[in-house]
């Protein structure tokens, strides 16, 4: 990643995220009279400013967890607690989200895309542009401010998506398989960049992924979930030593997680 100047916002103190607790949360979808269970009695706690990676088989309910954490849905039972307060239904100013498809608005430039979240939350136009510009520079896309999303590669678009989420200066960041649609090399690069960004801004993060290696590289803890209906199988802590992909510790952690998922090597 290219070197960047310190943005004018005081980062570390300002939006260090609070602790996030999932307490006996179950959720099921009801449609046309059929009930589809998604989560079954999930419980775990994320310490403040930590990155929690949620791994599990496809379609097991990981995205549901994110939706509940964001306040987009109310859990069928149980509750989610953010920084001491129960998560309520509705938009939440402290949360930023990024998805697998960056979902950039094709009619806006890159800069306008990053700025629009700030605008809808009430920032003045000039202020929004300034902040957006800073975050774009942070993700290394300062030269592409006036480009349109159709002109960007997948990796670049994803960076814009993350910049957009971070520009809101969220205290909690929810990432739903953000690098899944990107090629392997770009994915490795983006993981490193994300790590650096998170160290700088320190929100509390829930990072959903199906790539276990990615979870170890980025996370402070791994929540392993079962197939649908998703239960928490195990919570595996990760420390700095494990992140080096060339190390034995990494391989050990990988094996442990995969075994938990039921995949033997």
């Amino acid at each position: 990643m290219t070197a960047v100047e310190r943005p004018s916002i005081d980062t570390a103190a300002q939006y260090r995220g609070g602790a996030f607790a999932v307490e006996h949360v179950s959720h099921e979808y009801v449609s046309a009279g059929k009930r589809t269970p998604a989560l079954a009695d999930a419980s775990f706690t994320i310490p403040a400013g930590h990155v929690c990676c949620v791994v599990g088989p496809s379609g097991c309910g990981k995205s549901t967890l994110l939706g509940l954490a964001a306040g987009l849905m109310a859990p069928s039972s149980g509750r989610l607690v953010w920084d001491g307060e129960v998560v309520r239904l509705g938009p939440n100013k402290h949360i930023g989200m990024a998805f697998q498809q960056p979902g950039l608005f094709p009619w806006l430039t890159v800069l306008q895309n990053v700025a629009i979240g700030l605008r809808t939350r009430g920032s003045a136009r000039r202020e929004a542009r300034r902040i957006a510009e800073e975050f774009l520079v942070t993700v290394g896309l300062g030269d592409f401010q006036d480009a349109y999303p159709s002109q960007l590669s997948g990796g670049m678009a994803q960076r814009v998506g993350i910049a957009r989420a971070l520009a809101l200066q969220p205290r909690m960041l929810l990432l739903d398989e953000p690098f899944a649609a990107v090629d392997a090399f770009t994915r490795l690069k983006l993981q490193q960049e994300l790590l650096a960004l998170l160290r700088r801004y320190r929100p509390t993060v829930i990072f959903v992924t199906h790539d276990v290696a990615e979870a170890i590289a980025v996370g402070d803890m791994i929540v392993v979930m079962s197939a649908r209906p998703a239960r928490v199988l195990r919570i595996i802590p990760v420390d700095a030593a494990d992140r080096n992909r060339a190390s034995a510790a990494f391989a050990h952690k990988l094996g442990e997680t995969l075994e938990c998922l039921g995949v033997t090597q």
Partner: protein
Amino acid sequence: MRAQRSPRAQAWLLGCAGVLVALAIWTLLAQWLATGGGVINRLPPPWRVLRDLVAYASGELWRDLLFSLRVFTIGWVLGATSATLVGLTLGRVPMLGNVLIPVIEAIRPVSSIAWVPLSIVWFGFGLTSKVFLVGLAVFLVVIVYAIDGSRRIPHDLERTATMLGMSGWQRFRALVLPGTLTEVLIGSRVALMAGWGTVIVAELVAADSGLGAHLIAVQQSYNVPAVMATMLCFALTGFLMNAAFARIEQRLMPWRHDVDRP
């Protein structure tokens, strides 16, 4: 948590509610205007229209309908057939195609309605004139489908045909013709409404026979309920034809989904 009705039941209920609301608004408007409300001083309530519809149906409707349908069918068949032939030719003979297709593209946007006065000069007010107009309308719609269909043979099918050593005629029969006919069938359904709409305009102008003629007649005798009843007949016929044709298309080509439905 609220009990969830099945989506279909919900759609039905809401749809019926919508229709009832529309009818209620209509009745209220008719009431209000009857007491000298506004510009539209003759708006009969729904039941009057229904009564006239029933009266028409037990009387001359079928004769008029037959006339209109006759005009429509002949025009539609002629239009679709000629469009298929011309489309095939223009699509497969590049020299003719490159020269004439731009001309057709230029004429297409000009609806066949623009040809009504010319048609009257040429053919007068009779059957020929109306059939010409309907045929023209259908032709202009189907021709695009015919040209597209005759040209759009998937590349790998062409290669397979070459590999199998098919002659020009065999290739035509096995590849070009079915592809073209499929597209023409779809285009012919799209052309249904264009053709049926042209029938009404032609009959409104000619005013000699058919639903359109009846429409003019009741308009001239200021019989608003009858006018609305006739409009309903016209719409209903169009709807039924469309539904019938869609079903036929579904049976013949089950792999195509109906592009018209939401």
